[in-house]
């Protein structure tokens, strides 16, 4: 478009009034001349005027065409359409409010869920070029293990032999360390890391330096790096902190670095110490490390995987005993971190998208109803020269305007909804999750807003464009009711079908969650309090010290009023932790490490089974007599007992752990207990053995106490006091009731079930409103017909049945379509469901009945109104 053209368009726009007047003048002049000519030809002034007007034709139509010719019309008309729309929407404020609220809820829910998914799945991790970061796991595919921790010697070989990574580093998952010497001892989430880790992440310290290669060695590892928050919190952001000595777990360490604000790794750790290698860590069977690496530029994950596969094969060849069947898995860090959430989040996005669709259908329905009421208005505008396209555009502009207002409100709602959603998560979220609003969220909101407007605006716009305007004017607005009623029925069927799919999904999630809630984890969770006590190795160097500490602590806690039983365990049920070791059973073939079964190895103090309500099926519990030096004993779970001794008692048999060549002592089985789910509520594949803490002292145990009070939190203060009396520097961490532990372990299914239920409930309400609207409309437009029927002898009951029958017919069609759709779609939820079939018949039947009942209620009011129709009034109607 050239400048002149642009100027002219601009002038045409700004001088609209003037141009309009000129157009009027021009056409008036023409008429005047015609009239004068007619008068000259001998007509009376009146006839002359009439003839001139007749000859001229449709004045307004000509004017409209002249305006079109002016070429500014797109912008100008849009402005006019918008201001007209605003007037229309303000006038029909009830309609407008309902539509905007519906849209705001739909768009708000979508934006909230999208923000949530965005914060987890889409945002890049907070490290430079984080897509090049890889996680290295070991695998033992022959034993069905696709991911396990790394052993240090294997890692050293990887680091040396690979050509695909810039560097490889290892670390221990988040642990806890006591920071003492500054008032109350505090537990800090920490991680033991190899040198090179921060370089791989490409995060430089804000102060000081990172660890050196030498500091991987135990004699030189009295150093520590602080996180920014911790530095601010505990050291007041003192810039001279570098070089200072702090006491961690009774061991002084020199601060060598402070990491920048916001940096945590892994998960929530904010303090880092060197690996502290022990001699045991130099054996290839000691798996406990996590591996991380950065791909060299231009190397793909597949190429890295291929090379690591070859390296693992080479290591296996050189170390056939320890590395039999071991491989390496290379995955992207992002995928590893987000993998747990991906499926559920994608499904949730789908679900909430369905809710928006239902909202769209509902709004389209309302728009249609209103379009019917406005038929005459449109017909009139068409007769006055507005093209069909103009009217369609007017409807679309109104729709988009509604959508934009709804979207803006929805966006505000989403901020609040997201906050609410995050409070429903009982765990501390890893630092890399960030749920702030970013361009992606804004773009998404804008996108779905416009899309929504187009979807719900298209139906009425299309309908309006199809209506024969002449017929409409002639028939006084009744011309196309049949057509509209059909589209509205179609919308209701759609709405019911969509709602059914959502309700089915929600029903399955709830059913699955209920199954999960009723899983017997093997523990009586009521009235049990748990508290972590991790004794620092520097202070409790001798294993006997730790054994004594916990023996005394459990005795003291047992004496606390309100405590019925107390004990301690290295592995709390459902904690997901645990120590896997290979098992050798006396009298059965000795298998190499690669082939021996892996069992869950748990250390407990006497009284543990009674405290936790774990059934002692045969034999005895550990006692204070099972100490170091006494014959080694063990208690096994019933599954292990059944596997090896299905027809006899396991008590008295002997087993041992670890690689056969280590020749660890035999442990005599003294008892058999019920099965406990140590990993997750959903599954526990490993069979378990328990060992007495006095014989296998470990430093970190979780104290468990059963209380007589309904609120086990009551004894927390007493427990803290008992710990402090034994060792004033010893912090207590992770205090939670066993019920909380259970709840935390299933927060994801619970949250998802909750969200599904909320969304499906919303869809159900929308569907009810939709059905009600259509039925009420039907009754209104057929008042005359109903009057005739009643006049001809139909009873109120007949009329009621007629209306309800019509509504239920739509409902049944919708339910049938919905069940078909649900069967197709719930398959996608397979991975989210626990012990629940994706086509669970009970869920489907209950949901179908529920939806039908809701639909019936929605039909009831209009049907009642119809049945009460007075035939005399009805016949006079219109």
């Amino acid at each position: 478009m050239n400048l002149r053209n642009l100027l002219r368009r601009w002038r045409a726009l700004t001088r609209r009034k003037e141009l309009e007047d000129q157009l009027d003048d021009e056409l008036r002049f023409h008429l005047q001349k015609d009239i004068e000519q007619n008068i000259r030809n001998g007509m009376s002034p009146e006839d002359a005027r009439f003839a001139a007007l007749k000859a001229f034709g449709a004045v307004d139509q000509s004017k409209e065409e002249c305006r079109d010719a002016r070429g500014v019309t797109l912008l100008e008309n849009t402005i006019r359409d918008v201001s007209y729309s605003v007037r229309v929407l303000v006038k029909g404020y009830a309609f407008t409010t309902v539509v905007i609220l519906t849209l705001a809820l739909g768009i708000g829910a979508n934006t909230a869920i999208f923000s949530f998914a965005n914060g987890i799945l889409l945002r890049p991790l907070p490290y430079p070029q984080s897509d090049r970061l890889a996680v290295l796991d070991e695998t033992a595919l022959k034993r069905g293990i696709d991911s396990m921790s790394v052993s240090y010697p294997n890692f050293l070989d990887w680091r040396e032999q690979n050509t695909v990574f810039e560097d490889v580093a290892v670390y221990f998952g988040t642990g806890r360390v006591a920071l003492t010497g500054a008032g109350e001892p505090v537990e800090i989430r920490s991680s033991r890391i190899s040198h090179g880790l921060f370089e791989i992440l490409r995060v430089s310290p804000q102060l000081g330096r990172t660890f050196t290669a030498d500091e991987d060695r135990p004699e030189q590892d009295a150093v520590v790096i602080l996180g920014h928050d911790l530095w601010q919190r505990t050291f007041g952001g003192d810039p001279n902190v570098i070089g200072q000595k702090i006491v961690l777990g009774n061991r002084p360490r020199t601060v060598v670095g402070v990491m920048p604000r916001g940096f945590r790794f892994p998960d929530v750790a904010e303090l880092w110490v060197p690996l502290a290698l022990t001699p045991q860590m130099f054996t290839r069977t000691d798996h406990g490390l996590d591996g991380i690496a950065r791909l060299k530029d231009g190397v793909t994950f597949a190429a890295a995987q291929a090379e690591m596969h070859n390296i693992a094969a080479r290591i296996e060849q050189q170390n056939p005993v320890t590395n039999e069947g071991l491989g390496v898995r290379v995955t992207s860090l992002h995928e590893t971190l987000t993998g747990d959430y991906r499926e559920a989040l994608l499904i949730l996005l789908g679900v909430v998208g369905f809710v928006l669709l239902v909202a769209c259908v509902n709004v389209a329905n309302l728009m249609l109803a209103r379009a019917t009421a406005r038929q005459k208005e449109f017909a009139l505008r068409a007769a006055l020269g507005a093209s069909r396209w103009r009217i369609v555009r007017q409807v679309m502009v109104e729709s988009l305007l509604l959508a934009v207002i709804g979207g803006a409100l929805g966006f505000v709602l989403s901020l609040w909804a997201l906050r609410l959603l995050l409070t429903a998560i009982p765990i501390e979220l890893p630092f890399w999750m960030n749920f702030g609003v970013d361009l992606r969220v804004l773009g998404f909101t804008l996108g779905i807003t416009v899309l929504t407007g187009l979807i719900f605006g298209a139906v009425p716009a299309f309908q309006t464009s199809r209506v024969d305007l002449n017929d409409t004017l002639k028939e006084g607005g009744r011309g196309s009711i049949g057509l509209r009623a059909r589209s509205r029925s179609l919308l209701v069927v759609t709405e019911i079908a969509l709602s059914l799919v959502l309700l089915a999904g929600a029903g399955l999630m709830i059913r699955s969650f209920l199954h999960l809630r009723h899983v017997n984890i093997g523990v009586d969770t009521k009235n049990v309090i748990t508290a972590g006590v991790a004794l620092p190795r520097a202070k409790y160097r001798e294993s006997a010290q730790s054994a004594t500490f916990f023996k005394q602590l459990t005795q003291r806690v047992r004496a606390v009023p309100g405590v019925q039983a107390a004990s301690a365990t290295a592995t709390l049920p459902l904690s997901g932790g645990g120590w896997g070791r290979s098992l050798t059973v006396e009298g059965f073939p000795v298998l190499s490490v690669g082939q021996a079964p892996m069992i869950q190895h748990t250390v407990v103090t006497p009284g543990y089974f009674r405290t936790m309500g774990i059934a002692l099926l045969s034999g005895r519990d550990f006692t204070d007599a099972d100490v170091e030096g006494a014959p080694p004993v063990t208690i096994i779970d019933e599954r292990l007992a059944r596997e090896y001794w299905p027809n006899e008692s396991a008590v008295g048999k002997r087993i041992r752990f670890g690689p056969p060549e280590d020749n660890e002592p035999w442990h005599t089985i003294v008892g058999v207990v019920g099965t406990v789910r140590h990993q997750r509520v959903q599954e526990d594949t490993r069979k378990s053995v328990y060992l007495p803490h006095q014989q296998v002292p470990t430093n970190g145990l979780t104290l468990v106490a059963r209380t007589s009070s309904l609120n086990p939190q009551d004894v927390v203060g007493a427990i803290r006091r008992e710990v402090a009396q034994l060792d004033p520097d010893q912090p207590v961490s992770e205090i939670a009731t066993m019920d909380q532990v259970v709840a935390e372990s299933i927060w994801q299914p619970r949250l998802y079930a909750m969200l599904f239920a909320v969304f499906a409930g919303g869809a159900l309400v929308l569907a009810m409103i939709g059905i009600y609207g259509v039925m009420a409309f039907l009754v209104q437009t057929r008042t005359h017909e109903i009057g005739v029927r009643m006049a001809l002898g139909a009873t109120a009951r007949d009329v009621f049945k007629l209306i309800v029958g019509r509504g239920m017919k739509l409902t049944i069609i919708g339910v049938a379509v919905g069940v078909g759709g649900a069967i197709a779609l719930t398959r996608l939820m397979h991975g989210l469901l626990f012990n629940t079939s994706t086509t669970d018949p009970i869920t489907f039947i209950v949901i179908s009945l529920l939806l039908s009942l809701a639909a019936f209620l929605a039909c009831y009011i209009p049907a009642r109104r119809a049945a009460k129709t007075d035939p005399l009034i009805a016949l006079r109607y219109e």
Partner: protein, 111 residues
């Protein structure tokens, strides 16, 4: 012979006629209408509903320009005249028309 209605005027034909008439002077809409009727020997008539939008389109394309000036008995009227671009356009269109009608003539004569 029955009068031909404006339907026969394809948009381009009407615009060509307007350009041709304006090449001999500036006229207002009413004058133009009379002239079309007159010069075509009352064979062609055009309605205001077709004429005015055509004028506005031509004006928008910069082929004609308009001024307001007094007409008879001092009433203001909008007079249209050809612009330079309009004159060029007329030449092109006339040539095209001549080629076209010449071709039709040829066929009609030979057939």
């Amino acid at each position: 012979m029955k009068k031909q209605t404006a339907d026969l005027f394809k948009q381009g034909t009407l615009e060509l006629l307007i350009l041709r008439l304006l090449s001999s002077g500036s006229f207002n809409g009413w004058d133009l209408m009379q002239r079309i009727q007159l010069v075509s020997g009352e064979v062609l008539t055009v309605t205001p509903g077709a004429l005015y939008p055509a004028l506005h389109r031509l004006e928008a394309r910069g082929l004609i320009s308009a001024v307001w000036r007094p007409s008879d008995n001092n009433r203001k009227a909008k007079f249209y005249g050809l612009t330079t671009r309009g004159r060029k356009q007329l030449e092109t269109q006339r040539k095209e028309w001549e080629r076209f009608s010449g071709a039709v003539d040829l066929i009609l004569r030979d057939a």
